[in-house]
């Protein structure tokens, strides 16, 4: 009994994952204006993307993969007995729908799961699936482990501004953090597949302190942490230092999620 995983490009990939034959990544795309289309994490380096984000006066937009891209992935994995698909939250993107439609277009059962997260959060869920595969678990065990991970994944992140999330319509319930008359540095959480407000803070120091306070129990319990940032590696190092951990897993967040969150954001996920 063999199991392969298909995921989308918004999942942060730990070192070595991309090289695995049993993992396929289906890319989303981002666009600066109507004419410029880029494949997430492939067509543009992180540095270049951050620079465009900083300098461009248009907000980038993003697009889910066509169902055909998933069909290609499913077909490429035809040697495996089972295929498990892990997509980013269906509340952020239609990627989940594309994956489902594609499942109906191939002549075999495909299991599509909504990770209710993205980037570092879905990255940790993917790692859990792979760990279970490598442990020789059967498909039922793998599926149960992934569902547990989806239920237990937590992600907190700090943004410099809510402008990008607001413009992209992905702000969810964090909407109510908007409209403050003072400079506020919000801390957000991904919960139930959407972005929810965690805390309004003032100043970078306080913003980070709020994350540290919330994540510390997970650190003390020895949970795996997955850090991520959009052009803010030094803030991330400071966060790790204040949590008293090494930055073992660090994601440079790609153009798709970056387009929605904006430059200078950083965060951490744990299971």
């Amino acid at each position: 009994m063999t199991t392969a995983i298909v995921t989308d490009s918004t999942t942060s990939l730990a070192p070595g994952v991309l090289e695995r034959p049993d993992v396929r990544v289906v890319p989303l795309t981002f666009h600066f204006g109507a004419d410029e289309t880029y494949t997430d994490k492939m067509d543009m380096s992180s540095e270049e993307f951050y620079e465009r984000l900083r300098d461009s006066d248009v907000f980038p937009t993003t697009a889910q993969p066509a169902p055909g891209a998933f069909v290609d992935a499913y077909e490429a994995l035809s040697d495996y007995d089972e295929i498990l698909v892990l997509t980013l939250s269906s509340k952020f993107s239609g990627t989940y729908d594309s994956a489902l439609q594609a499942a109906g277009m191939v002549d075999r059962p495909i299991h599509v799961l909504d990770t209710k997260s993205a980037e570092m959060g879905s990255g940790l869920i993917l790692l859990e699936a792979l760990r279970c595969i490598d442990d020789g678990g059967d498909f039922g065990e793998i599926r149960r482990a992934v569902k547990r991970a989806i239920g237990g994944a937590n992600m907190l992140f700090a943004v410099g501004t809510l402008e990008y999330l607001a413009k992209s319509g992905r702000i969810g319930r964090a909407q109510r953090l908007l409209g403050t008359a003072l400079d506020v540095r919000p801390v957000l959480k991904v919960a139930g597949g959407e972005i929810v407000p965690f805390k309004r803070t003032r100043g970078r120091a306080r913003q980070m302190a709020a994350i540290v306070e919330e994540v510390r129990p997970a650190v003390e319990a020895g949970h795996t942490l997955y850090f991520g940032h959009i052009g803010a590696p030094e803030l991330l190092s400071e966060l790790a230092e204040r949590l008293g951990v090494e930055e073992k897993l660090v994601a440079e967040i790609g153009g798709v999620v970056g387009s929605h969150v904006g430059l200078g954001a950083y965060g951490v996920a744990h299971l």
């Binding site: 953090l177 003072l182 100043g203 970078r204």
Partner: protein, 525 residues
Amino acid sequence: MAIEVAYMVSAAHAAVKAQVARINALNVYPVPDGDTGTNMLLTLESALGETAGKSYDSPEEASKACARAALMGARGNSGVILSQMIRGACEVLADRASLDADAFAAGLDGARERAYSSVSEPVEGTMLTVIKDAALAAREATQGGEADLTSVAEAAKRAAHDSVRRTPELLSVLREAGVVDAGGLGVAVILDGIYACVSGQEIEVPEEGEEHAPDLEAIHAQEEAWGYCTEFLVDGFDGDVEEFREHVYASGRSVFVVADDDVVKVHVHTQDPGEALSYAGGFGRLAGVKVEDMEAQVRSREPELRPAAGLGVVVVSRGEGNRALFEQMGAVVIEGGQGENPSAADLARAVERTGAQPVVLLPNNKNIVPTAEQVGEFVEVRTHVVPTTNIAAGLAVMVGYDAEGEPDEVVKEMLEISESLRVGEVTRSVRDARVGDRDVPEGAYIGFLGGELVAVEDGICDAALALARKIVGDGADYLTLLKGEGLVEADLQTIIDEIRDLDDDLEVEVRDGGQPLYPLEMVAE
């Protein structure tokens, strides 16, 4: 007893009114805090508005109404304490058949007790001491066998004035400033009025006549939206004034019937103004008829009633910039602050206007905190006071506000922010004074940190910097500056630049609040 309560309140009101400027002038700090007399007067005015010319079914009812009106109209710290005195006295007098020497002494003692229990940390050398000494003197007189009301009232007022003279001995800020306590003098003046009243001496009894007609504007400000506000004169009045009065009282609310020779002035809120007018027409010629739909008025004044939300916020603030900032964050703003304290009734109305439950109150001034704490007694909704002491602190606390959050948690968050703040402001001394061991010349720029004087400088930039140094001294990393009236842009820029030089890690945010009296407020987190 109803008659006596009304008489005493109007006598007290007349006495304070005559002395209000003198009481206001006694500033204990070199900041313009000269509203003690005004606050006491407005509080009495509220009680007067309730009792003047009214008849009640029982002494108990009269006393209750009077106490409630005083509490509702209480303004500022001194007004709140005075309202508690009135409440204490009324509670005692409610059980008495008539005002004799013993009832008078017991009433003063009731006033003393309520006043002391209304403040968490009673400070001597204030109006508390004065009422205590007056009550003691009255009690000693009756226990010594004195049964004459006039003599007991005289002993009380004498003791009150002696006590006022001693206030600087008890309270060092008074001694340093070279003044007696303003609120204490107010209490003594009230006892003067009551003495004059019971002794039958000539005082300005505001019973009848245009000069002492009730302040209708103040009444309008206090009243709820109900029916039609109906005002008119009955000229050449011919009939029984008392019978007329009773009929009008029974017909509506907020009723005033003031008779002067053959002219009777009427103010009533009624659902049926036609009935009131045709009834009055039977007693004389109607003049100056004015009928206004109160409910429509209020509707037009408050066009955008908010939908019932989870948690609401009412803030007391001054300055256009500040109003806009607070409103943008979802608060209902009422104007007020230093020298212009809103009443508990003002706050209660604003609480109701939020349409929310519960409601957080941000007084943004030390003197308004006690008023805010009384509001809960008058409104159906639960209220929480986050005791902010300046406007900048109020803004910082608003960052924790979330209308849709779990109310208890949001309130806790707002309280936590409030407790973590270091609050300061720069103002200008209005007189030569001595505070602690410092001489403060008139016109000096002075900086307060958490209410303590920490800077006295000739220039505003120096005062602001001295204050900023103290305020960020122990590890603050975020400083919000709130520009007020009297701070020019160039000076503000100098202040910002020099503050940034103090500490590289300090983040500084600046907003134009436009508040008067305080060219600069600041809050550090």
